[in-house]
Symmetry: C2
Subunit: 314 residues, 2 copies
């Protein structure tokens, strides 16, 4: 059966995943990063692959931006576990169109982000492929004893996000439709940041956490599935920057839809016990409830969320 | 400048590599695996990417064989450091031609090899790409205190290889030229093994080691460059299986050329002090000398080696 007809990424990953046998695997497949007991420490490891045509286009990404985004998407997964990133392993396939200058610029982008967070690129693979591909594996470590996974959200917890959403998807659509202007919005797509700056503070109180890479709807669903809970999200509470709202208007879409279904914002979504919600930076957008359904509330009207983020195999 | 005109993989990797800042990086870019001090242990990490069209073809690889080879090539890098493999992170890009059954078979191949060496697949990325791509990062640990790198070969050391060579390249050429028969030789290309079975024994005595993934000539050059030495290789001493010799005859090539320039045999090449050479399994093919030149000796005639293995960017 063709993978496009099978039923999406979730089902595919379920089919190929097995439980780890090594008892030092604390968190295996299915979270933002795996967690391993290694000697006297906990090690985090995550991997993200970006393929030209699917994840970026040289038509509107500079080579440096490709490097920036590839590194940020991996760092974001470590941030989502409350971890400290340490080492990156970069594998890159170059096609015949690639110039040496482009390769250097890609690495300038990788090093720009890596340097900011004291991450060393310690190896990888440099090879040839039909399209340009970057696959990064990031190794980090736990900061304290606590490891924040997607499981752990409790009914009654508030749901927060670390900052404004929807910008990356707005930028992507602006590029796709060749709309001029909105340079700052477009940069949210091509030069995203991750929230390692505040992930520590959040991790002190969060009961569950994920990064927003597949869209708010998808990433919240991941937390709900892993935690065995449901959620109510207040659509009007989803934070959107003013210029993204203006771009949404021009694109003829709801700003909150860009946030819910767009992805690649690399903000964090997390749940916190109500009594601690004031202590954690971010914006409250809803509440965890019992059950397994996710509801969107808008001006008093409550609807079950049935659409999720982008799925490569749907 | 186009990457094909720049001067090969070595120059390209030199251009993009930097020395690690973190003092826990014991071995960085440029060996089979990086070595990191992590808590009270040494961690090995390596990554290999395989792209359809460049590294394999579904025309003559079964999906299971693609999985086998991807895992073996990474395990081989850990074997080359004398390490114990522990965890694999598998990132895979699937294209529209891929079926669910193929994905399952690829994972059957990955798990077949991983299970044999008690390696857990603990995560990765499953995404869409223009061609089928598998990128694996393997994490291992040092077995004892010794770490065998490519540096450490001394003039007077003997050069050994762990087993017969040239089979993978013979198999590849048989497939390419659509020659019938030679099924066992062809399997050396599509279903290689790695030498984790004896890497321990070798590591006890080896002064330097690498796996033979780019061809004997290339991988010996890596050892010589890293160790600051030269070498003499006796062409007639290079071990070649009888059926590979027969295939070479049919292909109109020297069997030892298949070994020298072919690659993907995943045997080990290592140097040992003369007095220990009897204690180490394998076949002696030459000797380390001072200087920086590598000579091929054939029936008393000595020529400098100037051709090396396959380079994606030459």
């Amino acid at each position: 059966m063709n993978i496009k007809k099978f039923g999406g990424e979730f089902k595919l990953i379920e089919k190929i995943s097995r439980t780890a046998k090594n008892k030092n695997v604390i968190v295996g497949i299915g979270d933002d990063a795996a967690v391993l007991k290694f000697g006297n420490k906990n090690l985090f490891v995550t991997s993200d692959m970006m393929c030209e045509g699917d994840h970026f286009s040289r038509a509107y990404y500079s080579p440096k931006q490709i490097g920036i985004k590839a590194m940020v998407s991996n760092l974001s997964d470590i941030a989502a576990m409350g971890g400290l990133p340490l080492y990156a392993i970069v594998s890159i396939a170059l096609n015949d169109d690639t110039t040496v200058e482009q390769v250097e610029q890609i690495y300038n982008g990788l090093y720009k982000v890596a340097d900011r967070f004291n991450v060393d690129i310690i190896g990888g693979d440099t090879t040839h492929g039909a399209v340009l591909i970057i696959s990064i594996t990031l190794i980090g470590q736990a900061k304290g004893k606590r490891i924040i996974t997607r499981a752990g959200a409790q009914p009654g917890d508030v749901i927060q996000v670390s900052g404004p959403l929807g910008g990356s998807e707005a930028g992507r659509q602006l590029f796709k439709r060749k709309i001029k202007g909105f340079e700052r919005v477009k940069k949210l797509h091509t030069e995203p940041s991750c929230r390692l700056d505040i992930s520590d503070q959040i991790a002190t109180y969060a009961t569950a956490m994920a990064d927003i890479s597949d869209g708010l709807a998808s990433d919240l669903r991941n937390i709900c599935k892993s935690s065995g809970v449901g959620a109510i999200v207040n659509r009007e509470a989803i934070p959107i920057a003013d210029n993204v709202k203006r771009a949404a208007h021009l694109l003829g879409t709801l700003p909150s839809d860009l946030a819910l279904y767009g992805g690649e914002d690399y903000q964090l979504i997390y749940t916190v016990a109500n009594k601690f919600s004031e202590k954690v930076p971010g914006v409250t957008i809803g509440e965890i409830i019992s059950g397994d359904k996710i509801y969107l509330e808008n001006k008093g009207e409550r609807k079950e969320l049935t659409r999720f983020g982008f799925d490569h195999f749907l």
